[in-house]
Amino acid sequence: MTAAAPCSKQLTIRGVNEMKRIKTAGLMLLIFAMLLAACSGGDRQTEAADGEAAAAPVELTMAFFTFGSTPADLPAVQDAINKIASEKINAKVKLLPISFGAWNQQMNLMLTAGERLDLLVTGSSPTLGYSSQVAKGHLLALDELVRQYGQDIAAAMDPAFLRAGQINGEIYGIPTLRDMASNNGVLFRKDLLDKHGLNAGEIKTIDDLEKALKLLSDNEPGLTLAAANGSIVDHLVNIDNLGDFLGVLLNGGAELKVVNWFETPEYAELLRRVRDWYEKGYILKDLATNKEATHDLVKGHRSFGFMNYLKPGIDPQESRFAGIPMVSASLTEPLSTTSKVTNIMWGIPRHSQYPEKAMQFLNLMYSDKEIINLFDWGIEGKHYVKTGTENVIKFPDGVDASNSGYNLNQGWMFGNQYLSYVFEGDDPEIYIKTKEFSNSAIKSKALGFTFDSTPVKTEIAALTNVLDQFKPGLESGALDPEKNLPEFIAKLRAAGIEKVIAEKQKQLDAWAAQQ
């Protein structure tokens, strides 16, 4: 046994060297192949589309998100859309629906890998990640394309909205036409308001609201107030949060001065008030962690109403969801900010092979009534039928919301919603009103400014955690501001909020100078 030992040791060393060499060579080869693939994935160029008309229609891949499962009849709708599109612009679309929960992850990967994609939904919210996509170089600048192929888009919307998504002077996303502004308010159960002699139209200030809350809470045991995104305070004021609440413009963006919202006396006062309401039992105690939809809370007899963003037509919409008539009370003036306008946009990936065709198709989505309604409602006769009233449609016999093959109902996503049909039950003039609502709302002076967080990304990372820790709890009344607000403010400072605000102001001033 012992004689074998030195032999095997020598063998091992020799063998190891041998193996090492072979392995290293092989590894290098494979790594080289990998790098090659990654590189080519990175700079897949956008070849200029052929000047000559292609014999076959160009196929565009169009990605958008859905909630829940994909409609069964989507392929049929896609075919109908393509019939029109191939005639008009010699292009077809391949629809790529992705569920909302998977959207962020899959989109990041698809863009990183340079997979076939020509149109995608983007937007200001973190899930849709517009500004980070631009920062990473994923999106194509669209100014020239809009000028050449997107005339109908420019004609259809207020220029301020078209330019809302500009970053460093260029636009990378085109907002869809929907409600481009919102006001803050509360949606109440109509029957409860009536029961206690309250009139939603008369609830206009925070004091009015408090009186109503007291009345409802005292007399309806077990029912409380909820809020659409967990924060009561957000719905009591009109500020331009400049995307992330880290440095905001007060008074609906009346002047271009970035302040620390959390250190303002107004904020402290609001927190105190909301805490007071919490202790008196007006507010849902679980609000900060609540995962249920607001209308489910109403349906489940937990809530008599909830704070929400309002727009024309919100009453019938929420009534439908809650299954019981709801009526809204408005607390602030309608306001248009960059984040609201750029909430849902369409972008073209840098690596798209047919950017011109993509823009042409996009143009159709803002002007062609047929295509828009195919996207919004499906195929006439199969998924809807026209009624006697102009522009109003309803379900065909035998079809309803639960068995319709196409119940996407995401009109706010597909270009120009103002050209869409109205479903029975909604106000026939809803889109005219929405358009007017959007155009006449107060426009924040910073409309069109998007903050580039790259210079301060370390601070933003730390600040996001601080916000997560305190904002939901404080603004739903669950945390006592006496103790927690000073801590919150101190932590924000320690994480570098002053630096971020300074950077924001700097970028804002530079942007304003260019306008």
């Binding site: 063998g15 990183t112 973190p126 790259t454 990304k457 370390t458 990372a461 994480a495």
Partner: protein, 335 residues
């Protein structure tokens, strides 16, 4: 028999005899000899090939991506041509007090989990082994494994059903029965180390227990019989036979756990507290901190940096631990 003789070194196996003779007669063909020895193991190397290739493809090739941690990636230039930024992507992991909190939390939780899970899993495995009725034993095993199969999101709903301030079982039924007032569980950070540790044991004890049970079952019953003849009590048998003989497995599991000490079960620390920010002081760990930070930024350089940081720390710790274990008992070391 031949086996005993082999054991005592009296008889050399055939392969070695030939080699020794070769060595004496042909020193110049030393290389051929070595290759010959090597050749002996070719079947074994062939066996390993699929596995090694898979690890190469699945784990080693993508490691080129670790360079992303040191770059500010802009896809207009492509990954390779993007700027190098040194350690800037790592800053957010160290700069603020939160950085200290998350590191502290991660280490404390994982340290506690390693010890507690080990003790509980081994204890339960031993107890399962004691059960005479095979049917009952299998029943217990299945049931205890059950929690492992439920996804963390569902677990978070179930925990919520216990702790919710409005409708939770504790606040509505148990605490009033004990005369204690309402507790707002989701805003009080101090209870959560205990809550999360309990949830972790509940979810994983059954899983680890399977491993230790398989180890215990593999112990030759002759050992126990011999001990019984010597008059040892059951407890002494466990101490002298069971525990020492499953030590290699315990060591291995512990070393592996140490290697992953900077990683956490994301579901446990993000879903179960329902992402309640107020609890961050005691529930934020490195993985959740990174997720929260990057939700808005979407910066792959920073997330890659975090991954590298976690790996390097775990790696160093494991090297040290493995070295220590090697000193004690070479057999038990991982490598």
């Amino acid at each position: 028999m031949i086996r005993e003789d082999l054991h005592e070194g009296k008889v050399k196996p055939m392969a070695q005899l030939t080699a020794r003779q070769e060595e004496r007669t042909w020193p110049g063909v030393a290389y051929a000899r070595r290759l010959g020895r090597f050749k002996r193991f070719v079947p074994l190397f062939l066996m390993m090939l699929p596995g090694l290739v898979y690890l190469l493809i699945n784990n080693y090739l993508p490691m080129f991506g670790l360079i992303i941690a040191f770059k500010d990636v802009n896809f207009a230039k492509g990954i390779m041509a993007s700027d190098w930024v040194g350690f800037k992507n790592f800053e957010y992991l160290f700069k603020t007090r939160d950085a200290y909190v998350i590191t502290r939390n991660t280490i404390l939780y994982n340290g506690a989990f390693i010890v507690i899970n080990l003790v509980v899993a081994v204890a339960v495995a031993i107890l399962l082994n004691e059960i005479r009725s095979k049917l009952l034993s299998r029943f217990y095993q299945s049931v205890i494994l059950l929690p492992h199969l439920i996804s963390m999101v569902i677990v978070s709903y179930l925990v919520f059903s216990f702790l919710s301030i409005e409708t939770g079982f504790l606040n509505k039924s148990l605490l009033p029965a004990l005369g204690i007032g309402e507790i707002s569980w989701y805003t009080e950070a101090k209870y959560w180390p205990a809550i999360l540790t309990l949830v972790n044991i509940w979810k994983h004890a059954g899983f680890y227990c399977v491993v230790y049970l398989a180890a215990i079952v593999g112990i030759d019953p002759e050992y126990y019989e011999a001990a019984k003849l010597d008059g040892a009590s059951r407890w002494q048998q466990i101490r002298a036979i069971t525990l020492p003989l499953i030590t290699p497995v315990i060591t291995m599991m512990t070393l592996l756990a140490i290697g992953r000490i900077f990683y956490s079960d994301f579901g446990l620390f993000y879903q179960v507290p329902m992402n309640a920010g107020a609890l961050n002081e005691t529930t934020n760990v490195i993985d959740t901190y990174v997720y929260r930070s990057l939700m808005q930024l979407g910066d792959i350089g920073m997330s890659s940096a975090a991954g590298l940081y976690q790996s390097v720390v775990g790696f160093i710790l494991v090297l040290v631990s493995n070295y220590i274990v090697r000193k004690i008992n070479k057999e038990n070391a991982l490598f």
